[in-house]
């Protein structure tokens, strides 16, 4: 088990290094450097040189990469020129919105998808199955920003239960903060839940055809109990895989959703940074997103081992 964990951890770290190389290279290839972006197109060559010297841009590529990495390791992501504050502070400020948003969406999509998939599988071929899967089909097909607009119209404009957008900040209290995140997280969660529900259903149907389900039924266990005790845990393995993969899409989805709802999150930060060519911020956020995807997939690997005893010894 420790060997399994250690191996996964090393793979995760290696992935992070490769990702950092890719991000760094992309930034190198883009025309113009940070000094030029800061001073604008009309800056004098002397001023540019001075700033480059000051920012260490004259050093060889390898040194700059190593410096950047050394900075990342101690939490120094560099300094944003548009906000003229450390990138790490910007990220920290925005993460308190994005992190709860992503978590809420993840929990919500799982909480919707698994029961729906289970229910549809248990009633395979009946009306309930057709309705659930029809709804899932719509959920897969409709983009999340459209859901977002629909939700805003119904719950904010029409029913006036929640605000239509913006974020009051956690200093305003827990409930107002959560309230502002409800609609965005629902909009993020629904398309994910639709995919996950379909995966759950097909995984359940496959498991329900297995011999050990018949063994359990031959013991006298009623269908419902067999479904929960024997089928669900076995069906969780493909579901966990998809859940891990979906997390990356969830993060990408926050960029759109945060813009729709005017949430001051990481998605909006990176969006604004791109439009303003604040590349240091983009680099920092991207590396952070990569790291979080790696961490989530590490957790998924751990969950596999919890669900399936066969994986505990193999690695």
């Amino acid at each position: 088990m420790t060997a399994f964990l250690l191996k996964r951890l090393l793979i995760g770290l290696a992935t992070l290094v490769v990702a950092s190389l890719v991000v760094f290279t992309v930034m190198e290839i883009l025309p113009g450097d940070a000094a030029m972006l800061m001073l604008g197109m009309n800056a004098s060559p002397a001023a540019l040189d001075a700033l480059r010297e000051q920012m260490g841009l004259n050093q060889p590529v390898i040194m700059r990469y190593l410096n950047w990495m050394a900075g990342l390791a101690v939490g120094d992501f560099g300094r944003s020129f548009t906000y003229s504050s450390p990138v790490i502070d910007l990220i920290a400020e925005r993460a308190v919105v994005s992190l709860p948003l992503a978590l809420m969406a993840l929990v919500m999509s799982t909480a919707i998808a698994i029961p729906v998939g289970l229910f549809a599988a248990a009633r395979r071929g009946k009306t309930a199955d057709a309705v659930a899967m029809g709804a899932a089909q719509i959920g897969v097909a409709v983009p999340n920003f459209w859901f977002a607009l629909l939700l805003v119209y119904v719950f904010a404009v029409w029913l006036r239960w929640v605000p239509a957008g913006g974020f009051p900040g956690w200093s305003a209290g827990l409930w107002p903060g959560l309230k502002a995140l409800i609609l965005p997280s629902v909009a993020l969660a629904l398309p994910q839940a639709a995919i996950l529900a379909r995966v759950t259903r097909s995984a359940m149907l496959e498991v329900l055809g297995e011999d050990y389900i018949r063994t359990a039924r031959a013991k006298g266990m009623p269908r419902r109990i067999v479904l929960w005790r024997h089928a669900l845990r076995n069906a969780m393995i493909p579901v966990l895989t998809i859940l891990g993969l979906q997390f990356a899409f969830l993060l990408a989805g926050t960029i759109i959703i945060e813009n729709v709802f005017y949430l001051p999150g990481l998605g909006r930060l990176v969006f604004q940074a791109i439009t303003q060519r604040d590349l240091i911020v983009v680099e920092g956020v991207v590396i952070l997103l990569v790291a979080s995807v790696i961490v989530v997939n590490l957790l998924v690997d751990l969950a596999y081992a919890l669900v399936d005893p066969r994986l505990r010894i193999r690695a």
Partner: protein, 541 residues
């Protein structure tokens, strides 16, 4: 009154009739053997008794268990019967247990459900029954998972689940078909003892007449969803009044005619030579820094094969016979030793260099269903090995060769454009043989080639193997745990045990007078129809 009474049971699935007026009865403490070939409806009869039939199945007639009308019973009432009064054991022990639950959980679950016992009491009872089926606590604590057990051990767990609450009726659907003969004997003896101890009725479903003759008081013989004959075992199987009974009995003991058993041209050059071959597999890692002891699957094996010779490699599952076969086929490399084919070593050659060897050495696998891509035509499937030839055949040549190969195995030229699903199991095995002979090889390695087939089909396929050996002079290496196959079709037998060849010699000699313990165990465990019937008559006096 009988414990179980089935009268005129008729069942269809989506309009397709599966059972047509089946009658069957089992008395308390009686063993009923239900025999038939695949598709005869024996498993469906069992599932109808359990009311665990597939979706869309409709049954009519009468099934009475202990006075309860099963077909009319509610699902709730059935849940009370299943696992408590009626237990069931299945064919495939590898998949019959939930892989994510411990054996303790799986055995005690039914006990708790039916008796309302608390966890500790249920686990104590589970412990007792596991001890009884031969899984003692020291080696098999309740916390074991199924993947930590072998096939035979898993089948014991399934039996423990079925017998935990001492049911009045036990249904065993081909309980030993997936096991080797030695395990088969152990499991059958266990079932017999459990049935005697608790005066259970046993419905033993099997395609193997010898197994049924050994176990059952009465037999029922089914075909195409109908009962052909039923009666007292020894009498029914010895008199063979019904023509189908006779056909089954004959097919199960069929020995193909092979007039010239290779005057084993002992002067001829060796076709295949195995010299001191060993194969190690790395052991499971003990900890992060220590590798486990390597496991020696094949241990210093040497033998040779002459052209046209037919040899059986017999042994229990896990004895290393399939590993050896993979090395002969150059699909795996030995850790030590040499393998020579047609006078040249197979070792250290790349795929191009191996081509002339591969075209002279083909393989037939056990499962005629899994070994074909369902989306390819027969022409494409059978012609696959032709890429091993030096020149690429033209499409016309290709079709001609496929037609010839199909003809050799008794199929029609027109079958070339069909897909695998259009063929029965026996025909598919003919297709795999056609695929094997299309390059006109000198050696065919056949890994349990008939063990997935019904007895009558199996007799035909054995005939085909014998015929090809006689006409084309192909040498065979049959890998099997079934001694009747070895006896039917081979000149010589090698007995393998724990990676070593422990005995070899002429087939008849070894099977009649085994010397080594391993060979003796195999011979003693192999079911034999004549012997079983004789024993029954003797018991009856």
């Amino acid at each position: 009154m009988s414990l179980l009474e089935i009268e005129n049971l008729t069942l269809d699935i989506g309009g397709t009739p599966i059972l047509k007026g089946v009658d069957l009865s089992i008395a308390e403490g009686e063993v009923m053997g239900l025999v038939g070939e695949s598709g005869s409806g024996k498993s469906m009869t069992a599932l109808a008794i359990m009311q665990l039939m597939p979706y869309a199945a409709r049954a009519s007639g009468r099934v009475t268990f202990n006075g309860i009308d099963i077909l009319g019973a509610s699902e709730q009432a059935m849940c009370r019967l299943r696992g408590d009064d009626i237990g069931m054991v299945f064919q495939e022990p590898m998949t019959a247990l939930n892989p994510v639950k411990t054996i303790g959980e799986q055995v005690s679950e039914g006990i708790r459900w039916h008796t309302g016992a608390n966890r500790a009491d249920a686990e104590a009872r589970a412990r007792k029954i596991l001890d009884r089926v031969g899984l003692p606590e020291a080696k098999f604590p309740l916390s074991r998972y199924p993947h930590e057990l072998s096939g035979g051990q898993r089948q014991r767990v399934v039996i423990a689940i079925a017998c935990a609450l001492k049911p009045k009726l036990l249904i065993a659907d081909e309980p030993t078909t997936a096991l080797d003969v030695v395990l088969q004997k152990q499991i059958l003896e266990l079932l017999k003892d459990l049935v005697d101890e608790n005066r259970m009725g046993l419905l033993l479903i099997s395609h193997d007449l010898a197994v049924v003759a050994d176990m059952a008081d009465r037999v029922t013989i089914m075909r195409h969803g109908e009962v052909m004959e039923d009666g007292e075992t020894a009498k029914t199987l010895s008199e063979q009044v019904h023509p189908y009974t006779r056909q089954l009995a004959q097919a199960s003991m069929h020995v193909p005619a092979r007039p010239h058993t290779t005057a084993a041209s002992s002067k001829a050059e060796n076709l295949l030579e195995i010299r001191n071959v060993s194969r190690d597999y790395p052991g499971r890692r003990v900890s992060l820094f220590r590798k486990g002891e390597p496991f020696r699957a094949v241990n210093d094996v040497s033998f040779s094969l002459k052209p046209g010779q037919s040899v059986a490699l017999v042994g229990r599952s896990g004895c290393g016979k399939s590993t050896l076969a993979r090395m002969i086929l150059a699909l795996d490399a030995p850790t030590a030793g040499d393998i020579r084919f047609l006078g040249d070593s197979l070792l250290g050659k790349d795929e191009t260099a191996l081509r002339p060897f591969r075209r002279n050495m083909q393989v037939v696998f056990q499962d005629p269903y899994g070994s074909f891509n369902p989306r390819h035509t027969v022409e494409r499937l059978v012609s696959e090995p032709l890429h091993l030839l030096d020149g690429k055949p033209t499409p016309a040549e290709r079709r001609e060769r496929v037609a010839k190969a199909l003809h050799e195995v008794g199929l029609a030229k027109a079958d070339m454009d069909k897909y695998p699903h259009e063929f029965s199991g026996g025909q598919r095995q003919r297709l795999s043989i056609a695929r094997a002979i299309i390059t006109e090889p000198k050696l065919i390695v056949a890994d349990e080639p008939v063990s997935a087939l019904d007895v009558s089909i199996r007799a035909q396929i054995l005939d085909l193997f014998a015929d090809l050996n006689q006409r084309l002079g192909v040498a065979y290496l049959f890998i099997t745990h079934d001694l009747t196959v070895a006896r039917a079709i081979t000149d010589e037998v090698m007995v393998m045990h724990d990676g070593r060849i422990v005995e070899e010699g002429r087939t008849g000699d070894i099977l009649d007078h085994p010397q080594s313990d391993a060979a003796k165990a195999l011979v003693a465990a192999a079911p034999d129809l004549h012997r079983a019937i004789a024993k029954r008559f003797q018991e009856q006096g």
